[in-house]
């Protein structure tokens, strides 16, 4: 069990991604790293930023960043803590959450729109991490 968001959680997430054959297939052509930014709200008092490097169906590296400027990434996926909690705990559709502006995405939208299934598999993977929310 790991607390979300934390270094321990993102490490467990990496392990889960790398042992998920459905994600491996859905994302076999994917190249691009992310900043997953958890912005503060009533339940979280500070911003937390995960670095996640996804490459051809595998997760090559994860890290907790100190600031958004620490690493430049191809994509940024940003949302309030409560929305992250619902996304992961309720296995919500990430694309629908983007469309309804629960999350903001920056990066090459054409590539994202061709990787919807990979994004869904990523959420399912996150949901499989034994998680304790703050």
């Amino acid at each position: 069990m790991a607390k979300f968001p934390s270094e321990a959680w993102i490490q467990l997430f990496k392990e889960k991604v790398n042992s998920n054959p459905e994600y491996a297939e859905a994302a076999k052509n994917w190249e691009g790293d992310f900043q997953f930014i958890v912005t503060p709200d009533e339940a979280l008092d500070r911003e937390l930023i995960f670095y996640v490097d996804l490459w051809h169906g595998k997760c090559r590296e994860v890290a907790v960043l100190r600031s958004r400027e620490e690493r430049k990434t191809a994509f940024t996926w940003r949302g309030a803590y409560s929305n992250w909690k619902r996304l992961i705990s309720e296995k919500r559709d990430p694309i629908r959450d983007l469309l309804t502006r629960k999350f903001q995405l920056e990066g090459d939208m054409i590539r994202i729109m061709r990787a919807v299934r990979a994004a869904q598999e990523l959420v399912k993977t996150a949901a499989s991490v034994p998680t304790e929310f703050v």
Binding site: E25, R92, D93, I95, R96, L99, R114, R117
Partner: protein, 391 residues
């Protein structure tokens, strides 16, 4: 189940006999008609031009829309449109013309944007220069009611699905006189497109109470009227019902999205240049059977809506797929790629790209059963041979 935040979008819908007269009430200075040469030849453009002139507008016509319009085609049209600087854009024709009008509208108002950059996450600037009227002349595309356009990239052999909440017509005009000139084959193809829209919208994981009501009504209208429309093109009432069914289905799928049949049909269209209505209709029974377990209740609801009962030991997917196949036979549609006359070698050579393009689509991910790449390949192979899906 409680729905998460979502919305329902629709244009103002003007319908019924003489619906085109509504154009005379539109206020503006300049109208730009986006259409093709066939529609011009049928005399529809002259009628629309006359009504717009009666409204006091200066009118220019672009009749160069290609079947399954390409990025280049719409870019060329957008240049002419920009020079004319209209405050109304009129998409007149089948899905190709309306989709082309939408794409040209985007380029007119967002000159620095590329067509392929249209996506649902980035807000488009529209309605600063012009508004859009969509007038379908076929009964199937639904584009008059949707917030998306389908544009092809011929070099990549790809049909791009380009959705954006802003990309919806302000007014859709459904005049039942327009589809009466459709020949039986086009009536059948476009009618199957409408049916596939409605079935996939109803089975979609994004369906809602609002889209369900529209989809079920559309399905019922198609089953009651499509065969009649194919056999008697002059029956205005039947034509009107099919025209309405297509728009209802468009409203449904635009707000709940589509599924695997459309992803595969778009792939067949992009890679092998096969017409959309025929391919999507053909794929529908395969995809219904593929989702037999996950969508069993949804398919049972459709059958109940149609008054079709399932016998002992029958499952709803099989009964629905067979019901669709019977309709297809009745209206002269083919049930497999092989029956259609697509050569085995052509199919085999194209198969890898067909699978790749279908898997790139956003649509399979919203289906009741999300297929793996291997399952998409198998679905194509079954659809080629006409085999009943058993996996």
């Amino acid at each position: 189940m409680v729905f998460s935040l979502w919305w329902f979008l629709s244009p103002e819908i003007v319908f019924g006999e003489d619906a085109l007269d509504y154009l005379e009430q539109i206020k503006g200075r300049r109208a730009f008609i986006v259409t093709d040469k066939t529609i011009c030849g049928l005399g529809f453009v002259d009628i629309v031009v006359a009504k717009l002139r009666k409204a006091g507008m200066e009118v220019q016509v672009f009749d160069g829309v290609e079947r399954e319009p390409s990025v280049e085609n719409v870019s060329k049209g957008a240049e002419t449109l920009t020079q004319f600087a209209p405050d109304w854009i009129i998409g007149l024709g089948g899905g190709s013309c309306i989709d082309a009008a939408k794409a040209m509208w985007v380029l007119y108002e967002n000159p620095n944007l590329r067509v392929e950059e249209i996506n649902p996450m980035t807000e488009l600037t529209l309605r600063q220069k012009a508004k859009l009227v969509a007038i379908p002349t076929t009964s199937g595309t639904g584009s008059e009611a949707t917030w998306a356009a389908v544009i092809t990239e011929p070099k990549e052999r790809r049909k791009m699905e380009l959705p954006s909440k802003q990309l919806i017509a302000d007014i859709a005009i459904l005049d039942p006189a327009l589809p009466t000139l459709m020949p039986p084959e086009l009536t059948a193809d476009t009618g199957m497109d409408a049916l596939a829209h409605a079935v996939e919208a109803f089975a979609s994981t994004w369906s809602t109470d609002f889209t369900d009501a529209l989809a079920l009504k559309a399905i019922k209208l198609v089953f009651e009227n499509l065969a009649k429309a194919c056999s008697n093109r002059k029956d205005r009432q039947v034509r009107e019902r099919m025209h309405n069914a297509a728009t209802l289905a468009g409203m449904a799928f635009s707000n709940s999205q589509l599924g695997v049949a459309h992803a595969m049909a778009h792939s067949l269209g992009g890679v092998l240049k096969l017409p959309h209505g025929k391919t999507v209709g053909m794929m529908l029974p395969y995809v219904i059977r593929f989702s037999r377990k996950e969508a069993a209740e949804r398919y049972a609801d459709i059958l109940q809506n149609l008054g079709v009962s399932t016998g002992p030991g029958e499952d709803s997917a099989d009964v629905l797929a067979s019901t669709v196949e019977r309709l297809m036979r009745q209206i002269g549609e083919t049930l497999s790629l092989e029956e259609w006359g697509i050569g085995r070698e052509i199919f085999t050579n194209a198969l890898d790209l067909l699978v790749e393009r279908a898997c790139e689509s956003t649509l399979p991910a919203l289906s009741p059963r999300v297929p793996s790449e291997a399952e998409v390949r198998k679905l194509f192979e079954y659809a080629y041979e006409g085999r009943r899906v058993d996996f």
